[in-house]
Symmetry: C2
Subunit: 303 residues, 2 copies
């Protein structure tokens, strides 16, 4: 085959069930584990945090909560946590560690409830970063300054960002699940995606997973990505989970994939052009995507 032919754009329809082994050189690929609802089955991973933003909680919160060692609520997200529980006994078992924001949405009685039970409340009135970013600073500081009372004496305007920018940054890896960042008002959805791209450059120690009622969303990084999971049935009970590769990073991306229903070779994707939606996951416990730039992926979750 000539070099020209081998670089031709192609789409290859795959059978529903295939096995994709991990890439041979494991030092060069990004390993991504978008699992969910796996409590008890996996070795406990440290530095795993949950961030709850302000939309109605429509998923099984408890199974994610149990996998996380740190929980942060952003402003009105605290109300949503409070309202998620219908009885006091369950509510008492799920107390967030930090509550952060400008508090234009947080109900006073909800603030009082959690504050009286030891949750750390951090008011940040600055309008130059949003609640999502304020919480990111809080989570980074929590791991960076462990076992100190770093949150005392913070400036109430923009203290989190200022403290974070004033200290050296370590590289402890953090896996962050974010609820309610996607699926509400479109400007909030797109801003969340935008910040995921930016954080991937500025805070490379963070791995973000946006969790919605219908999917899990994450960034495939420039280069080779091996996305792996114990079993596809984690995503849905029958059939193959739908997925998409979404070029939202302001430019085109060349893709090669191994393990999707419609696998692609040297396939250029961009907005106002070709976008792979309603694709499917055929790799039974993993698949590979090589991309010339960072690209957003979503996988359907129906259980």
């Amino acid at each position: 085959m000539s070099e020209l032919t081998s670089l031709e754009e192609k789409v290859i329809e795959q059978p529903d069930n295939i096995i994709i082994p991990p890439p041979s050189d494991d030092t060069k690929y990004h390993r991504i584990q978008p699992f969910l609802h796996l409590s008890g089955k996996i070795p406990y991973v440290t530095n795993r945090a949950l961030l709850i933003l302000n939309q109605k909680i429509n998923i099984d919160l408890i199974s994610i909560w149990e996998q996380c060692e740190l929980v942060v609520c952003a402003d009105g997200g605290t109300n949503r946590l409070y309202d998620y529980f219908t009885d006091e006994q369950s509510r008492m078992k799920c107390l967030p560690h930090y509550i952060v924001g400008d508090f234009d949405s947080l109900r006073p009685e909800v603030q009082a409830y959690y504050e009286s039970r030891g949750c750390i409340v951090i008011p940040q009135s600055s309008q130059y970063s949003n609640d999502f970013m304020k919480c990111i600073y809080c989570i980074q500081l929590h791991y960076q300054l462990k076992n100190t009372t770093w949150y005392e004496m913070l400036d109430t305007v923009n203290g989190l960002e200022e403290l974070w920018n004033s200290i050296p940054h370590c590289s402890a890896d953090i896996t962050l699940y974010v609820l309610n960042a996607i699926g509400g008002r479109l400007d909030q959805t797109i801003q969340s995606i935008n910040q995921m791209y930016i954080l991937n450059k500025s805070d490379a120690n963070l791995t973000l997973y946006f969790i919605t009622e219908s999917d899990v969303i994450f960034l495939l990084k420039k280069g080779q990505n091996y996305v792996t999971y114990e079993n596809r049935s984690l995503f849905c009970d029958s059939g193959i989970p739908n997925c998409g590769l979404l070029p939202l990073g302001n430019g085109s991306v060349v893709l090669n994939s191994f393990g999707l229903k419609y696998d692609v070779r040297e396939w250029t994707t961009q907005m106002v052009g070709k976008v792979s939606s309603s694709n499917g996951i055929c790799g039974e416990n993993g698949f590979i995507v090589e991309c010339s730039e960072d690209i957003v992926m979503n996988i359907e979750v129906t259980k």
Copy 2:
């Protein structure tokens, strides 16, 4: 002021209530009317269509239905229409004109219900365009070939696209409200946005409004846009509606706005960069956005 200064990037915070008159030269701007829930109050506009895709209907369907002269359901969207009504009397009053798709989701009893009541069912098995695009062809053909039985004898694989591509296109303007294109699985949301950009070039007679539970989404076109409405209270009962300007067209956009909470001058926006989210609408019955390229806008709707 030197020319250099006047082209500086700026953000200007505006009071909550301002009046923005229409641009002086009305031949050169795009007039956009993202109104909703206005039944009976406006002169009836012809060529106004409603397209229902396959997600749960979470809005007040009837008030939109009453403003549209044509209704098309895409595949499983028909089930959602059927299930929206709890009593037969209401269901009977809202019959779609066309049902289109590959019918991998349409329930047989739902198809039989609407078919027996005169709805035109158009199976299209092609996997090379999605249900959304098949419905766009159907709507274009409906207005183009009015008063004919163009839908008879169609090829059941890809007849709609083939017929549309075989006839000359007129330029009758069509306003199309689309339900359930945004807010479900992220790949479907992004594909809908992608197709809105593409249709704006290929089918300039179409004006699309995506309607969700929380917002209305449309395209601002390269040049000057005057977005106008009778009253901001159409969007929300109190306060100013939130909005965003979302550069999803694969490139940066330079913006000037007049009538937003955070008005911008010569402001460059792009993904993996600055994006205006959680902005607000201050213009009491309209605002102006000048953009160097097409850009998506969303306005919050809470009523």
